[in-house]
């Protein structure tokens, strides 16, 4: 669900922003970018979703393929349940506020993740549990600025640079988002404070899902291990399905 989250603001952006040309004035562009982000966040609140996703993870040590079903509501709640492989079927990950819980069917136990486990990988992928929690509270954590508008490799693009606010508890130095002129996300680059590229997220295969244009494939690649990646493919997604908060509870976790 983390990824869906990350993609979604851009999606909403695409729905909202009028197509525009030319470069905006600096101050104005910052303000506009900020306003848009905030609007996106506001839009997010109350939005819910239900998706079926397949995830492929390739690392030096293993290659995994999984199919998952996920629900989300607003920024704070998400639930992901594994459908295949059979061995892991029923394993679930619940995010509620800033807590993450794991339900493990083999032992029929729910465990709340400790501070020490936050940095470990989520389901063996290149995302961490912390990524899941830290969510794209983009307008909360980052200042946005439009840094480029024009053609790149024959495609009309807009480039956003997100700089973390001084109080934001995020490790990145900078995130650079590249979207199509129609606001379809293309790529996100994560840099450390020395402007060294640490990881890349690419969005591809846009399709109409439910009521909007949506990049159905999302791939994360760590820069220091270019042969590795985690790829999410959205097979189905529905929005605004009217989920209540009680849906995202531990009791529910078990019953999945």
């Amino acid at each position: 669900m983390a990824v869906l989250r990350r993609a979604f603001p851009w999606l909403c952006l695409a729905a909202l922003l009028p197509v525009c040309n030319g470069v905006w004035a600096d101050e104005a562009s910052k303000e506009r970018a900020g306003v848009i982000l905030r609007e996106v966040d506001d839009l997010w609140r109350g939005e819910s979703s239900h998706a079926v996703i397949s995830m492929m993870i390739k690392t030096r040590h293993y290659t995994r393929k999984m199919k998952m079903e996920g629900w989300s509501k607003g920024k704070d709640s998400s639930l992901v349940v594994i459908l295949t492989p059979l061995r892991e079927k029923g394993t679930a990950s619940l995010k509620s506020g800033s807590s993450v819980y794991s339900y493990l069917p083999r032992t029929d136990r729910t465990v709340r993740l400790t501070a020490g486990m936050m940095m470990s990988s989520w389901m063996g992928s290149h995302f961490t549990n912390d990524d899941l929690v830290k969510e794209s509270r983009l307008s909360d954590d980052y200042e946005a600025d439009i840094t480029f508008e024009g053609k790149r490799e024959g495609v009309d693009v807009i480039e956003f640079t997100l700089t973390p606010k001084p109080d934001a508890a995020v490790v990145w130095g900078e995130i650079v988002y590249l979207v199509r002129s129609d606001h379809l996300p293309l790529r996100a680059l994560y840099f450390d404070e020395d402007m060294k590229l640490i990881r890349t997220m690419t969005f591809s295969k846009p399709e109409i899902m439910d009521d909007r244009l949506f990049p159905t494939v999302l791939r994360v690649t760590p820069q220091d291990k270019p042969d590795e990646f985690t790829e999410l493919v959205y097979e189905k997604i529905k929005f605004n399905i009217g989920l209540d908060d009680a849906f995202f509870s531990i009791a529910r976790l078990k019953r999945r």
């Binding site: 800033s98 993740l113 501070a115 940095m119 450390d192 404070e193």
Partner: protein, 411 residues
Amino acid sequence: MLFTMTWRNLSRRKRRTLISAFTVAGGVFFSVAFTATGDYAYTNMINTSATMGFGHVTVEPEGYNLSPTLQKRIGGANAIREKALKIEGVTDAIVRITGQAMFASAAKSVGGVFIAVDPSQESPENNIYLRSMVEGSMLDKTDGRQVVVGWKMAKKMNLRVGKKLVYTTTDINGEIVSEVGRISGIFKTGVDAVDGSIALIPIDKMRSILHYGPDEATLVSVFIDDQRFAGQMRDVIASSLAMKGVDILTWSQTQADMAGIIAIDRRMNYLSQFLVGLVIAAGILNTMFMSVLERKREFGIMMAVGMTPGRLFRLVLLESFWLGLLGVIMGALITIPAYIYMSNIGIDLSSLVEDGADVGGVLIDPIMKYRLYKQSVAAILSGVFTLTILAGLYPAFKAGRVAPVENLKIV
């Protein structure tokens, strides 16, 4: 008269007297050497480990030592500090919050321990990390975003002074909380485990993250001027504070590892000294005994002309008294130059100790020096002296038991 007689007896056999006195002197010398080198090393280790976080005496929440969690805290920490500072013998008291956290940068994340401090209370004397700063500077605010870390941690996470660090821990309600900080300084203690896992954070910042009350803390570290009195100071502090729900512990309880090693070393030390003492006593006994046996005839005559066994007993005992005194004085004479050298310069054993060798997290000082406490000197001198007297008891007793007539028969 006894006095002159003793001296006469002793000086009759100058060489023997000197040799015996010399063994006593040797005893003093070695006893001082063993005790003083031990005390120097232990005091050093104890004082250094006190600066690693807990002080000599620690006021902490009840049950914290057995199972430390951030949910346990003490209230009115600053009031405790004020009270402690007023007590005689206390040189310093510091309020701190400490707990486990994950530290993360864009490159890597590392598990470790944070110590949240008030920079106005911290100084190089009571804080080893401050003392070992190699780059940058200490925190200057109680609620800023500065963080001080060990060089190994900075290296693992690919960070430098000025770069940011995100730390994640668990607050009072069990919720996971994160905060961002910037590295303002880097320390290097020389112990890898420490340099790779400890971070200093401003205390009020930590209080707000953990949702602690404004005067709550994990502990108050109290420093005293003489680590030997940690036990007594603990009691004084406990009665002065008269609080419930707190444990007041000494360094031997909070740094059990190091305390264990010191205890073992001390035991071996005392055992060795005890054995050496025994043997020296045996030597003295030997000498006195032989001296008594040689003078059987003399004693026989003395008794024949009216000397009582009691006085003979005292005579011989006095001899061993003087022997002991002579030995102790000689001992002091040979020990003093050694003491002056060893307490100021010492012997450098760095070739024998590997880099970064530590004992319970405290770096081992490769220089062997003396530290002689007044009480130890008194103990050694009186101990040696007593031993000599004790050794003289049996021969003295034997002296009085001599039957005059039998002895006069000896030609």
